[in-house]
Structures are given as C-alpha cells and as structure tokens.
C-alpha cells in the first residue's frame, strides 16, 4: 500500500438553483476514489456553500493512483426524493505522482454535467503522500514523466533516447451495452467518461512500465488516441518516445535553452547506457504487481513485440544483426521499431532525411470477442509498422522520425494510417541496440555541414528506390541532394532557408458507392492509391507554384464516410537553399491545336504571374550561386515521388506504388479535358494570406523567430451539409476546397487585430460524420511578431541564442551550478541538489506577476530568516510548504480575486517566456449531450458553449496544479452527432497537453538581478559559488 490520497472540499460558488421554491440549493459533496466514498455535510440553502470539510483519506495502491481519477460529485440534498446530481469533477492525480511535478492540486474546478454543462464551481485540495522510498517507487511506473511535446522539453536534457513505446487497451463501449437501453443518457455518458479516464490511466501506467524496463524515465511525444469502433468496442492506444531526461536545473535557475534542448555531446556511445537495467525481469514477465483490477477487468493489453525479423523485401540495406542480442529481451523489441514520435531534434541529431514513408490499411471491424486479448488490433498495427519500417529501409534509412498513427472509422470499416519520415540519426545519441547502426557508411564519416547535411540523400545513388533527380548540394557541393524533400518533421533549426514558409494544403473528395462489409472495404482500398496520388500531385504543384522546394510537417489525413472519401494533406512549404531551385510549371495541350493556344498561354501567364507574386510574398530570394562547372548539373525537371505508400485490405497484399509520372516531363500540366482545366483553376484558387499574415502547420515558422508576446489559441469547427445528392467529384472538390479556404479567411479576419501575426501549427482534421455532412475541425495559435526584425537571417538564431543566454547566465554566480553548458554537469547537478542554491528575493517582484509568483513570494516571506531571504531548493520542493501557502491563497480567493490567466498553445513553447516547470500531462475526455438543442442556440450554440467549457476545464485543472500555461495542446477528437428532428445532439471531445509554469523572460532578468544584489547581503550560498 504505497500511497495515501487526501482530499478536502473547501467551498462551492455560483451553484445552480436546484430548489425552485426557495431559489436555493442544499448542496453536499461525494468524494469517490476506487470503491471508497466519503460525503460532506449538507450545506443548506446556499448557492455559495462553505463546506470546509475534513481531509478525506484514501489508502490505495499506486496502481490505482495511476489508473483512477478522483471523482467528486456535487449533489442537492432532498429529504423526500432522491438527491439530484448537480455535476461532477474528475481530477487526474497522476501529476502528483512524480517528484518534480506538482505537489498539490488546489483550486476552483468547474462542476460539469454532461447534460447541462458547467454548473458552478467547487474548491478542492488534493494531495498524495507516498509511503515508499524512492527506490521502491521507481519500480512501479509512477515516476515516469509524460510529455505531449514532440521535442525534448525545455528545462530538460535528454541523456538517452531509448526509442518507440506503444500500447493499446480495448473495452466494450458503455454506449453500446445492453444496459444503455434502460439507463439515462447522463448515466451512460458518465460511465463512458469514467471508463475512458480509467483506460487512459491504465494505458499510461503500462507504457510507463515499458519505459522503466528500457531504463528510461520519461515519454516524450506521447500521443494517445481513441478509436470509437461503435458496436465492436472502444480502443485506446498510445505511442511515444522513451527517453532518459535530466532536469537541467535544480528548479531555481531558469532553463538555459529556449527552443532547442541540448543533448550531451560527450556521451559515451559504446560503453552502454549510464542507467543500467536494475533488477529487470529478464523476460517479458508480468510487472511486479497484478494488472487486473475489479474496475478494469474487461480491459487488457498486449504487446506487439513479436520477435520476428522484418521481411526484407526490397531493402536496399542489408539487415544487420542486433549487436545487443545477448541483452534481455526488452531492448530487442525497441529495435523492432526504430520509430520516434519527436518532430524536432537538437542540432546534429538528424544526419540525413530520406523522405516521407506512410502506410495505410483498410480493415473490417468485428466485435472484440475477448477484450483481454486485443491481439487483432495489435496485429494490425504491427503490420503497418513493419511496412513503414521496410519503406524506411528502402530509402536507406535506419529510423523513422516524426512518426504518428491515426484511424478513420465509418460503420464497420476502419482505415489505419501511419506515417513518418525516414531518417538516419546520429548514433552517438542512441542507446545501442535501439537502432540498426551496424552499417554506417563511409559517406557519413565525414561530418556534413550542419545547415545542409540533413538534405543529403541517405540512399545509394546507384540503387535508388525510385527514380529521382539528384544534384550536388547547393551548399557544400559535395553530397547529392534530391530536387524536392517531403518530411513529417519540423524544419531543423540549423537548416538554411530563403524567405518565409507557408501553409500548403491539398484537398480532395472522392465519391464512393455505398456498400457493405467486404465489398465496401475493397472499394475503399481501391480508391486509396488514386487519392494519395492526386494529393501528392496537388502538393507538388502547389509547392512549385510557391516557388518552394521542401515540405515540413506533412500530414495526410484520409477520412472515410458512407459515400465518400475525404483527403486532406497539410504541410509547411519552404525554400531550402541546399536544394535546387524549383522549376516553373508549363501548360500544354494534349495535342497541338487541341485547345486554342491563346487559352493555354493565358493560363500559362496566370501561373507564371502567381509564381512571381508568391516569390515576392514569401521573400524567396535564394542566394545566387556562382555556377561551377562540375557542381551543378541543370536539373532536368521530373516529377517523382518521395512518398512511399501502400495499402492492403487484408494485410498480406502489400502493394507499393511508384507515384512518379513515369518518363513524362512532370512540370508540364496537360490540358486534355475539362477536368484538367478545373484542376488548374483549383490550383490557382488558393488565395495567399492577407498582408500581415503568415501561416504554417509546424512548430516554428520558417523565416520568423522574433515573436512578441501576443498569443491566441483557438479552435474552430465547421460542418457543411451537401444538399445536392448528384454531386460529381469535381463539384465536391470545389466545395471542400472552398470550405477550407473560407475557414482560413475567417481566421485572418477574426485575428486581424493581431497583425503582424502568424498562424502556427494549423491543424486541420476532416471527418464525414454523416452521409451528407463534411466536418472540418481546426486548432491553431496566432502569434504576433516584430515586423521590424523579420528581415534578419534567422537560420542560426536558436543556437546562438542558446549559447548567448548561457553566457548571460554565467554572470550570476549563483546559477553556475545549475548551468548545463559544460561537461561537468553530473557533479554540478549533484551539488545543486545539496546546497541552498538560490537566494532570490521573490518578494521584490513587480506586481505584474501571475498567481504562482504571488505564491512564491508568499513562500519567500514565510521562509524569510533574518534579513537575508534564502530559499533552499529543498524547501521549495516541499509539498507541504506549497500546499499550505496555496490553500491559504485559495481560501482567501473566494470573492474578489480574479482567475489565474492560463495561456494555451499547440506549440511546445510560449514566445517571450521560458518554461521553468512541467507539471504533468493533461488528458481529458468530455461528453456533452442535449435534448433541448434549439433552446441552447442550435448546433452552433451547443458546440460553441461546449468548446468554451472544455477550455475552461483545462484551464482550471492547470491553474489548480499551480501552472499558468498549457503547451503542446491538441484537440485529438471532436466527434459531433446531431438529430435536429429530436432536438438532440451529442459531442465528444478529447484534449491533451502539458501543464507548465512559464515565466516571462523579462521577469527572469529582473529576478536574476535582484538575486545578484541579494547576494551581496552575504548569504551562505556565496561560499558555495
């Protein structure tokens, strides 16, 4: 029994009126964890009850702590009839289980009801006391940190990247159980919310176990998804990258890195990992505690660690043997899939990038007969991953980065998709056995220049996996580069680019006959290759039209509906100076005289004009190169694909399609029929963003880095009803394209007050919720930037900035010990753990600070001793301290005080601030249902308030953890169903992100300087530094 969970119910406010007669409420609270329930007293006749309850204590296993949420139910007492539920709060206590994260959860939580939405707020304090010592603790998976962020989190340093972790659990969907016929919608929704909360807890715990087995302590790029398979069940699956992370500072000193974390340079690459496997089970024996519990009996999981060697197929690289085959099995199954969910890497990590690899598979869902053995789902993903791996091999790469998986489900058909970027990584950073590095080519011995190295082809020139046009790198002139590069990762910070990037989207609709079962699946898988081909062609043409030569953050989504397939590819186009300049686009008639040459030349002119305008717009002025005789063969334009894809209906059929146009000259678009004319018109339809706006779908906007502090995250949903039943593919395409374009236009208009600004991380999700509906969901962040400085070359900025800041920090001796710039970090961090490292007088902060600063100040005052205000790092971490001061604050906060501002962003950073602490992962699932749709303002009113409520609940949880921002926020799921005739609607939303404390960089400086002056006061730390 390793933990004691304590909860205290303080007060409520803004409660709804439950008793019409008195216009008041007699509220009380039930606090439930696992199977234990406590109740508060009834607080009669009040809409702002003060319960001030005792501490409710739950003595529980750490396994339960990880899986279960704390469930708080607010009820209205009724003497004569059943008590009415006002609403619930689910609190995920996972963040309390890591030593470095939050130590107390305390604050106002919205009371949520699945039928009525938010109904007032409740003030709760939650703490966890862990009895076991640290060692014991680490044996369970409680200590493993999770990050949604797809780069190494700020204020951490990755000493080792262990590799891919995955897990899935399945269960029956409560909505489809027999009992659902007799219970209320509310009960059904709550059962579902609770089940999913349990399942994600369980999933996270299991992934944590795998990470511990691998010797890691964190999962970065954690991506968890739900598959609502309807009748056949509910699947929760997750992938991530296991890492060993070191905290860069002892918590007092700020992080020295703003954007890019530092990997240790002098890591011993051959002597094995510094963290030995301690006491690991040598086989895949069950974890040290029993995984089955009453509440999750139905769910279970299985590994996909088949020890098969992947089929070699057409690998261009011989499959090397694992050098570590003698080690325990856990290392092996990591080698099985050398995948990384990370999308940005420290400089030097990524050696070469091959191109996008993707795989899709169409499956027929059947009822999960035995939830304890979800083997079929595992096997499906296993297949797909093998395929991805073999594609990567074909590109001469040993790893896949920027890897992600997704599904699209319609009735019983499910499309599984996976994609990533084939790459060669620097073996120095890898745990051995993690990658097949046996065959390091001599080509890679000589160090590649940092700003073009990743563009160099990883595959063998003589044995190319597809026809490609190679030239010598325009930077170093030594290595070959392709003419175009497609990737799913972010633009490496060291890459040399010309001008700015821009969002490029390919959109496509394909009608499909309605069909059932096998026939339907076949029809879909027959359509897939054509869709991919067309999307690819569109992307390529649009890229050329913008005079760019590389795509980053490519994400292709194919969504299936009953009578159509939707394809949406989004990426950020950029001009890489290492790659050859893109050629133009030529228009030609099928046969001379086929169409009036005048018509053709007018289209040609429009295209040329557009290219010229775009060059201007995105400021693409690549440095003119002195044409050397040898180095620059004039690229013979040829359209060819870097995209490997395949699809299989029943998995054994593995087809690989060469997407190149054969020998045909690809930049020539032929006009042979009206369709082609339409296609060209649609190419030109994409309006450039209005002046003052830029857009991208990646973490960093190529060409802009001088962000100012304006940040506006938003979610937008649009559903279109196709009234005309006799639509053609062309017509649909037009409608779909307009839908996306209009959404973008709407954003530009709404955010016009932020100009100059950039829409970053534009994430479009498409769905076909019903036969004639198309749903597009977009989440993005608008960020302002300083227009004056944009002209500067920004390619090397992040690195410079990092080192510069490191230098700045060195000016303050007290922070020296926490600085990570040198190789003696090990000893340094040890010291910082012991000594009282900081003497920052938080009390002298200006009042602009947000609540957490107030809190620190409060603490600084409580700990103040004599004239010198010294806070030891140990004291600062003490949960008791924090708890006391926070509860003090929260009890005062009722009434006048305003709410903590919580910023949200889908990016891993907030401009102008640095993250000083990660408080844990936010992963929330909500259902909202209504039977009075009209009264709630129709579907738009209903969804509008629901999304606002979801934001509010995320913010409240972050604030309760002591945070002031959410980074890497994403809305993974937004399933909307309506039945206007019955006046009903239902919506499911799943969001996730990392709760953090970040402080403004200017604040940091002021605190540092006060620290400096404080030092002269003569604290003990002087001697230490």
């Amino acid at each position: 029994m390793p933990g004691k969970l304590k909860a205290k119910i303080v007060a409520g406010r803004h409660l709804p009126v439950m008793d019409r007669a008195s216009d008041l409420t007699d509220a009380f609270v039930e606090v439930k964890f696992g199977n234990t329930t406590f109740k508060t007293d009834v607080c009669p006749k009040s809409l702002n009850p003060q319960w001030n309850s005792e501490w409710f204590k739950f003595e529980v296993d750490d396994e339960d702590l990880q899986d279960e949420p704390l469930q708080i139910t607010v009820l209205d007492h009724d003497t004569y009839s059943a008590n009415d539920a006002i609403g619930k709060v689910y609190i995920d206590i996972d963040p309390l289980l890591y030593s470095e994260a939050a130590s107390v959860i305390s604050g106002w939580f919205p009371i949520y009801d699945t039928i009525h939405g938010i109904r007032g707020e409740i003030n709760v304090i939650v703490k966890v006391e862990l009895f076991n010592d640290l060692n014991r603790f680490r044996q369970s998976s409680c200590g493993v940190k999770f990050f949604c962020t797809t780069c190494i989190p700020q204020c951490y340093r990755a000493t080792l990247v262990h590799g891919f972790v995955e897990e899935l659990v399945v269960n029956e969907d409560p909505e489809y159980q027999w009992i659902d016929r007799i219970r209320t919608p509310r009960a059904s929704n709550e059962a579902r919310q609770r089940l999913i909360s349990l399942m994600s807890g369980e999933l996270q715990r299991k992934i944590g176990l795998k990470v511990l087995e691998m010797g890691g302590n964190a999962v970065v790029g954690y991506l968890q998804c739900f598959d609502l398979e309807g009748e056949s069940g509910l699947v929760v699956r997750a992938i991530g990258t296991a890492c060993t992370l070191d905290k860069l500072s002892s918590g007092s000193a700020p992080n020295t890195n703003t954007h890019m974390p530092v990997f240790v340079e002098d890591l011993p690459s051959s002597s094995g990992p510094p963290t030995p496997f301690r006491a690991l089970p040598t086989s895949s024996s069950p974890p040290p505690f029993s995984p089955s519990k009453p509440c999750s009996r139905q769910s279970s999981s299985s590994d996909t660690d088949l020890s098969l060697t992947p089929k070699t197929g057409k690998n261009t690289w011989p499959r090397p043997s694992f050098p570590f085959s003698s080690l325990p099995s856990p290392t092996l199954h990591i080698g099985e899939f050398p995948f990384f969910t990370l999308t940005s890497f420290p400089p030097g990590f990524l050696l070469h990038v091959g191109g996008v690899v993707s795989a899709r598979s169409v499956k027929l869902l059947d009822r999960i007969h035995n939830p304890d053995e979800p083997e079929t789902r595992d096997a499906w993903w296993e297949e797909i991953r093998q395929e991805i791996k073999s594609h990567a091999r074909a590109l001469g790469c040993h790893a896949v980065v920027g890897y992600s998986e997704s599904t699209s489900i319609c009735e019983e058909v499910c499309i599984l998709s996976a994609s990533g970027t084939a790459a060669i990584l620097n073996p120095r950073y890898m745990r051995e056995g993690c990658l097949d590095i046996g065959c390091t080519d001599h080509r890679f011995e000589e160090p590649s220049p940092p700003n073009c190295g990743f563009c160099h082809i990883p595959y063998d020139e003589l044995n190319m996996p597809f026809p490609a046009q190679l030239t010598y790198c325009y930077h170093c002139r030594r290595q070959k580069v392709p003419d175009v590069l497609f990737t799913t990762i972010d633009l490496p910070s060291e890459a040399a680019v010309a001008g700015k990037g821009c969002l490029i989207q390919a959109r496509l609709c394909r009608l499909k006959k309605k069909a059932q079962g096998e026939a339907n699946a076949t029809a879909i898988s027959n359509l897939l290759p054509f869709m991919e081909y067309e999307l690819h062609t569109q992307l390529m043409n649009k890229l050329k039209l913008r005079s760019m030569n590389a795509l980053f953050g490519l994400h292709i989504q194919i969504s299936v509906g009953e009578n159509m397939l939707l394809g949406l590819a989004s990426a950020t186009g950029v001009y890489l100076t290492a790659l050859p300049a893109p050629g133009g686009i030529q228009i030609a008639g099928k046969t001379p005289g086929d169409l009036s040459s005048e018509h053709i030349s007018s289209i040609q002119k429009r295209i040329n004009d557009t290219i010229a305008v775009n060059k201007e717009l995105y400021q693409i002025n690549p440095p003119e190169l002195a044409e050397e005789g040898v180095g620059s063969p004039i690229p013979e334009p040829r359209h060819r694909s870097r995209l490997f894809r395949s699809h299989s209906e029943s998995s054994d059929e593995l087809s690989e399609l060469d997407l190149s146009h054969g020998k045909k000259d690809a930049f020539v678009l032929e006009i042979d029929d009206t369709d082609a004319v339409e296609d060209i018109h649609s190419l030109l339809i994409d309006a450039p963003p209005p002046t003052g706006f830029y857009s991208c779908n990646t973490e960093n906007m190529p060409g802009i880095s001088n962000w100012t502090s304006g940040v506006q995250m938003f979610t937008s949903v649009r559903v279109l009803r196709l009234s005309n039943a006799n639509l053609t593919n062309q017509g649909l395409n037009k409608i779909f394209t307009d839908l996306c374009e209009n959404l973008l236009k709407s954003f530009y208009f709404k955010l016009r007050s932020m100009i100059p600004c950039c829409l970053c991380h534009l994430n479009f999700t498409v769905a076909v919720p019903e036969e004639e509906l198309i749903q597009v969901t977009v989440t993005a962040v608008a960020m302002t930037y300083d227009k004056e400085q944009t002209q500067e070359k920004t390619a090397e900025k992040p690195i410079n900035k990092g080192s510069l800041e490191a230098e700045e920090q060195l000016q303050f001796p007290l922070e020296l010990c926490a600085d990570s710039s040198s190789s003696n970090i090990q000893t340094a961090s040890k010291i910082s753990g012991i000594i009282n490292s900081a003497s920052v007088d938080y009390g002298s902060f200006a009042d602009r600070c947000s609540t957490w600063l107030e809190l620190l100040r409060l603490k600084a005052h409580t700990i103040r001793r004599g004239s010198v205000k010294t806070i030891s790092s140990l004291e600062r971490c003490s949960p008791l301290q924090e708890g006391r001061s926070r509860s003090l604050r929260s009890s005062r906060s009722f009434g006048g005080s305003s709410v903590t501002v919580v910023k949200m962003t889908p990016l891993s950073f907030l401009p102008g601030t640095r993250i000083i602490k990660y408080l844990g992962i936010i992963n929330m699932f909500f259902i909202r249902e209504t039977t009075s749709l009209r009264e709630e303002g129709g579907v738009s009113g209903f969804l509008h308030s629901f999304i606002a409520e979801v934001f509010a609940m995320v913010r409240a949880h972050v604030a309760a953890l002591g945070g002031n921002a959410v980074v890497s926020y994403s809305m993974k799921e937004c399933v909307f169903m309506e039945n206007p005739n019955k006046n009903q609607a239902q919506c499911l939303i799943n969001v996730s992100g990392d709760a953090v404390i970040c402080i403004s960089e200017t604040d940091q400086e002021s605190s540092a300087s006060t620290a400096n002056t404080g030092q002269t006061g003569g604290s003990e730390t002087d001697g230490a530094t």
Partner: protein, 335 residues
C-alpha cells in the same frame, strides 16, 4: 449545400467592440452585417460577406453566453468559462449598463413593473431605440433597483460596488432608482423640455440633502426614501406665507439684497409673494405621496413658468433663490 454548424472559440475570448455595440443596440445579425459592411471592415482583411456573417454570428453567440454573467458583473471576474482580460471586462460591463438618454427619459419615474415593460414597444417606436435594446435597458434598471433596494449604505457606492460601474454611470443609476422609487412624474408635456441629465442632477441633490441618508448613513433605503421627518418639518415653513408680517419682512430682506443686481428686479419684487407661496405650498404638501410624485410638475407650474414668463435668466433664478434662502435664515422665527 449549407453551413450546418460554424463556431470559433478562442482561449482568450475574442470580442469586437463594434459588434458588441451593434448587439447591444439590438441589431439582428443580418442588419449588423450590413452595418459592418458599410463601415468598411471588409477592406481590412479581404473579407467576404460570408466571413463577416460567420464572425458576427460567433460574436453574437459569445455575447449571449456572457449576458447571464453580465447580470451580476461581479461574477464576470471570477467565472471560469470565458478568459477575458480585465480591461475588456470593464468595457463589457460599462457598455452593457449604458443606456440611451431618450429611452430613460421615457421611463424615468415610472414603476419598473411588468406593466411598464409591456409598453416598451410604444417607447421603442417613439424613441427609435430597438425593442431589444429597450428591454435590456429596462431590465438593467429593474435589476439594479432590486439589488440596491435591500442594501444598506450609500446608494451610489452600492451600485458601483455591485455592478462594477464607473462613478458617472453609478450616479445615473442612482438617479433612476431614486426616481423609480419615489415615482416622480416626469412624463407630462410641460416637463418634456427637461433632459435626463437635468433630472439626474436634481436626483443627486435630493439624495444628498433630502433623504434619510443625508442624516443617518446606516439605515436601509437611506438614499432612496425622502426623510419623512424632514418633510414634516417643511410644513413649518408655511408660517412664511401665512404670517403677513413675516411675508413682508422676508420680501423686504430679499428685495434689499437683490436691488441693483438684476435686470428683472421689478418683476421679482412684483411676483415675490406669488412665488414664495408657490414654493412653500409645494414644500408643505410633500408629506403626501401623491404630491411628492407631482413635485416636478408643481415646481414647473408654480415657480418656473411664472419666472420664465418674466424672462428671468438662470443667473437671476440662482440669485433669487440664494437670497430667498439666506433671508429666511435671518428672520427671527428661524433663528
């Protein structure tokens, strides 16, 4: 093909002040779009009509959701649903509680009841303020009235604290509440020339001088009800017109003081007795609720109109009243 659903939700709630004003003014979405188009927003961001419509709808929905919170503005600061920067909150509240002078002039002094609410469409037609806006303003008056009715302490301060309004707006509301409570008649044709601000000034004076609160500052309704004792005492002024000697004495004192200081001295002297009677009679009747209601109309009829027909200027009036009061103090009876 039609847009079935269209929402945009920002983490920080996006609100356009112009659209907010249109919403407050009771424009329908389509009318608001028209106004915005004419205003030239479209050129700013190459927007189309659809974009404008979608944006307007979003904002209208947001405002509707906020409206509940605006009814008790203190909630706006500690609610969790919308993240609105403090200065925007102040703007939202201030504008929500702002009102049209033309509208308030129509309902000033009327009972804030359902009956009055039913007449709002007539008022709307008369003032050309949209019915929706009329309703909002009327409900605001009623809400403020209801809340402060049960509170102790100074009226203006209560309004300011409860509704987080600016001092100016809080004073205006105090006037409205004061008038509604005492049901002063303001709608008569003879009073039409007076603006709301004129009455608001009077209300301010009455509150600070004639109410219970003027004497004791910790009673209920202190600033809303006129001080009964004071009104009772006013009856004693009657002696100024009933006692012939006193009346003459008073007149001579006033006239002495006024002589040579005004162009209308002759008229003043001539009408002194009439005017004094008028004033004192009004004052003496104020214990009667009905006469309280007619306070302003009586003042106009019995005092202001005669003065006006004699072409007094505002300065003359002030001078006259100052000396009228001062002289009374000199009289032995009031020493």
């Amino acid at each position: 093909m039609s847009v079935e659903l269209d929402v945009f939700v920002g983490n920080t709630t996006i609100m356009d002040e112009e659209v907010y004003q249109l919403w407050l003014d009771g424009y329908t979405v389509n009318d608001a779009v028209k106004v915005r188009m004419e205003g030239g927003v479209m050129d700013e961001c190459e927007a189309s009509k659809d974009v404008l419509l979608s944006d307007t709808m979003d904002q209208y929905r947001t405002f509707q959701m906020c409206e509940r919170l605006l009814h008790s503005p203190a909630k706006l600061a500690n609610q969790l649903l919308f993240q609105i920067p403090p200065h925007r909150q102040i703007m939202l509240i201030e504008r929500y509680y702002a009102f049209d002078d033309t509208f308030v002039r129509e309902v000033l002094g009327k009972k804030l009841s359902k009956g009055t609410k039913k007449d709002l469409d007539d008022i709307s037609a008369k003032t050309s303020v949209t019915l929706k806006s009329c309703r909002r303003q009327f409900d605001n008056f009623k809400r403020v009235f209801k809340v402060v009715e049960e509170l102790k302490g100074p009226l203006v301060e209560n309004i300011r604290q409860h509704f987080l309004l600016s001092d100016k707006l809080a004073r205006d509301y105090a006037a409205i509440v004061f008038f509604a409570n005492n049901r002063f008649e303001t709608g008569k044709r003879k009073l039409q020339y007076l603006s709301f601000q004129d009455f608001a000034f009077c209300a301010g004076q009455l509150i600070s001088n004639w109410t219970v609160g003027a004497v004791d500052n910790m009673v209920e309704d202190m600033d809303v009800d006129l001080d009964k004792e004071f009104l009772q005492e006013l009856k004693e002024l009657k002696i100024l017109i009933t006692d012939k000697d006193l009346l003459d004495q008073h007149k001579s004192l006033v006239c002495t003081a006024l002589r040579g200081k005004t162009k209308v001295f002759i008229e003043m002297e001539g009408s002194f007795k009439n005017l004094s009677r008028g004033l004192i009679n009004i004052a003496a009747k104020l214990t009667n609720t009905k006469d309280v209601r007619d306070f302003f109309i009586d003042l106009v009829e019995k005092f202001i109109e005669p003065c006006r027909s004699d072409r007094w200027s505002a300065a003359d009036m002030k001078l006259y009243l100052t000396h009228y009061t001062n002289s009374a103090h000199i009289l032995d009876t009031f020493k």
